[in-house]
Amino acid sequence: MRKVAIVGVGTIPWRSRYEDYTWRALGLQVTKKALEDARLTVKDIDSVVYSIYCDLMMRQQSPTPLIQDYLGMEGKPCVRLMAGATGEMYALYAAFSQVASGMADIVLLPAIQKGQDWYSFETRSRGDGLLKGFSISTNTTWMQPVLPGVPVYLTATFVVPHIEKYGTPTPEQLGKASAKNHRNALVNPEAQLKVDVSAKDVMNSRIIAWPTTMYQCCLYSDCAAALILASEEKAREITDTPIWISGIAVSSFYTARFEAAALGRLIAVEEAGRRAYKMAGVKDPLHELDVMEVHDLVTGCEILMYEELGLCEPGQGGRLVDDGIVEKEGILPVNPSGGRVAAGHVGGVSGLYSAACVVRQLREQAGGMQVPIRSGRGLVQANDGLSGLVGISILERR
């Protein structure tokens, strides 16, 4: 297997809506930025792997031929990956495989999604239109008719059983972890929500599904992001600071069958993490990683993830928050970008945005978000809304 590096990243700010650009134009913006970052042109690209999560959201089925045309990529191979809201990590897995196998030397990976063109004419609200349309992403037979929202599912299935077993995370720990991400977003020029909220503000915000409050729920945004992957030989020609993908894994777990073992656990996170660590040779993630960007679709899941990713023993995730370990100044900063609750979130894009953030951290180009780089390794994680599909990658500067 050949070594694979990230040689270019392109991002744009998270916004509640890009009414002045179509999804195609967002895709072109990030592609242009990624090409500039890598000092490449369209003709250098061998192959394109798209992450486009939902056709209905963009009022366009089969978007691949349209975006391939818009980006001027005629003649090049293109595939589109969809895997719930973690399609971007599955796309990264596919793009990595193309380069590692020798099928391509330079692969472009654009992730594009708009959601806020959805509208409810009944309530005259974009939010209602989005949530209604989005709801058919859950199981339309066995969930959607009775489920008031994805945060409810995540809270009932993972956060509450964990609290019942271990007594944590406490409401105070949830408040602190969410406040951490909001504080981090204040210095992210691309973050969508910049409000300085305290742990108390988080705890006192509107209850969505106890103990999850409004500030613990992810945003929903329009956004796009792009990466360029290259083989070792090409990467060394292109840049002095290639960021190597030293570990990559995807995994899956139940989303329609529940048994005791599944409650309070993010099993696919543990599984993908274990595989990615093995591939990258990571044995003590808390001390061998410099930074992590993970999917805090609800804050409780971020805290459970500390445990599933082996930063601490089961039940101790809340203590990492109390002890400041996951703060920007801590031993292992988690979500210095602000994460999904404050930077922004849309299915199919967030994980690649996180990857771009970690690349910039490892290049020490993260501006106000920069954390100390000691071992030169970072982790990116993304999952779909039900946490059934998970992708994890270890990025490394060597």
Partner: protein, 158 residues
Amino acid sequence: MAEMKHKKEKFFEVPYFYAGGEYLYSYGEISKFFREVVENKRLFATKCVRCGKVWMPPRGHCPDCYEETEWVPLSGKGTVMSCTYCYFSGMSGDLIRFLDLPYVCALIKLDGADTYMLHAVAPPEAKLGVVKTGTTVNVVFREERTGSIADFYFVPET
């Protein structure tokens, strides 16, 4: 180049109703579940003919054995295995049209089934702590049933 320059011209928006928005959907191999709900107010699960595991929600095939399953009736009683109180609903889940917030979203182990079902528990007064893990519940069928899991919900057993 390529900083996101905001064009100052006003964007132009139009309403659009996509053509694929209506379905006449077949429940296929699990049709019996919904027919029994609509016609007889009864809940059925499926049992693997090989390993004997009882699947709820029902499945036509056992994912462990790849064997077909057979239908088994349930009493409609069950136990809450995990739950949360919902105070906000932005989605189109049909049940929100029939139940007042807050209600309880729960994973319920129905008596006789081995796996849990995600559903709603609507106690008369949904105060925190009224319904919790271990609470026993009973199914209630709504009068107007259309062939959806929103045709029924659960209440704490009295």
